[in-house]
Symmetry: C2
Subunit: 206 residues, 2 copies
DNA sequence: GCTTCGTTGTGAAAAACGTAACAATGTTAA
DNA sequence: TTAACATTGTTACGTTTTTCACAACGAAGC
């Protein structure tokens, strides 16, 4: 396997990709490193360095051709396979993410959501059908689900995570304020909104 | 002013504080660095180093006294003043955060939310009243609001951010996928859920 | 008292990350 | 054609962040 690319670089590449998509929708053709960097909130040097890792090369006079760079980054990020994403836990956060990502034009697709509440099962939330947690294995196969958004109460998080791992989920975006115990091969991104807010609060009065 | 503390250290300290609060609620009295580190998902060495910055010292035989460490971190993070937080934009994400933080027992308080939709103004969402955006200045004074959660559509984000800055907001948690232009003195934490999800997707099949 | 043990605080080493600088490039204008 | 110019790709450098390693410590057992 090739050398490991750092998490930060991947995050920035995803961001560039998103911005390039918007630019392309606006019919822009090319862009200079400092312009794209400014939109992404990074320095031009860092942007150029990030682009090195995907291998695309620009022109010293025209900058980057948007469609070419976009294709380069997408290819780098998506590689061969794709797979889809599921949301587990259709509470406030789960639904907010469904609504948010649903109207997103990117390549990611949320194909199923899961809950325990009988009132929610069978319903369709923002275009995505909700299934019983028991159907996890079946539906993961059916929809080729490879990653999951975990938005259940903290007390249930580990149990559900175990189920996800059993069913070969390899990436989890975890909103529960709990450190999940999973095998090293499973990637977990912890998003703790309370902690983030507290951090903002701190820096609001340095 | 003292030397600047890094963003990462602050984020981790907020996390430790949160965990210590839970431990205290469970009547635990003391904890070793490796135990607390494990719950936070960091190494023991890093935890000890972080605690160095707040100045609290533990005992080589008993580890850290929970109430003492909690007090130390809280004091370090909160300093003198406090101030409250507002949410601007009571859409799906805004409401999800209200629900999420509302049931949080921490010291932060969300005291007001704002929207443009006449149907929402005057309503109470999860215990927080919604005001018209025009009332920003009045209510910021009234509730001593120091930081804001920006959860409006991308197209409105910059305009609202300008209003917040005008009204002396010093910290913004920004959910809009836009690079906000604000003075250097204003801290912005960008939370781009689509980017985070794409990152997870990438690492789900390294 | 003395030894053993596990833990903390912290200096020093290592690794990761970001920045700066500049040769190479190709376009434009004279 | 030639010179001037702005931008890229990339190497070298500096800074930040993390990890390592160990002296200092105090409790417990003998």
């Amino acid at each position: 396997m090739a050398e490991q690319i750092s998490e930060k670089i991947i995050a920035r590449l995803c961001l560039y990709k998103r911005i390039l998509n918007e630019l392309q929708a606006d019919n822009a053709l090319s862009i200079y490193s400092h312009e794209l960097a400014s939109r992404a909130g990074v320095t031009a040097a860092q942007l150029r360095r990030d682009i090195m890792t995907v291998g695309y090369v620009g022109s010293p006079t025209k900058g980057y051709e948007i469609s070419g760079l976009l294709h380069g980054i997408s290819h780098f990020l998506e590689g061969s396979n794709t797979g889809t994403t599921a949301i587990v836990g259709v509470g406030n956060i789960g639904r907010a993410i469904l609504a948010y990502i649903g109207l997103d034009t990117s390549s990611m697709r949320i194909t199923a959501c899961f809950d325990q509440d009988p009132a929610k099962i069978g319903e369709v939330f923002y275009g995505t059908r909700c299934y019983n947690l028991d159907e996890l294995d079946t539906r993961i196969q059916q929809y080729n689900i490879k990653s999951a958004i975990l938005a259940v109460p903290a007390t249930a998080a580990q149990v559900v995570a175990d189920k996800l791992v059993e069913n070969n989920i390899r990436g989890i975006m975890n909103f529960a304020p709990v450190q999940l115990q999973v095998p090293q091969s499973v990637y977990v991104d912890n998003i703790n909104l309370a902690v983030s807010l507290e951090k903002v609060h701190y820096f609001a009065r340095q």
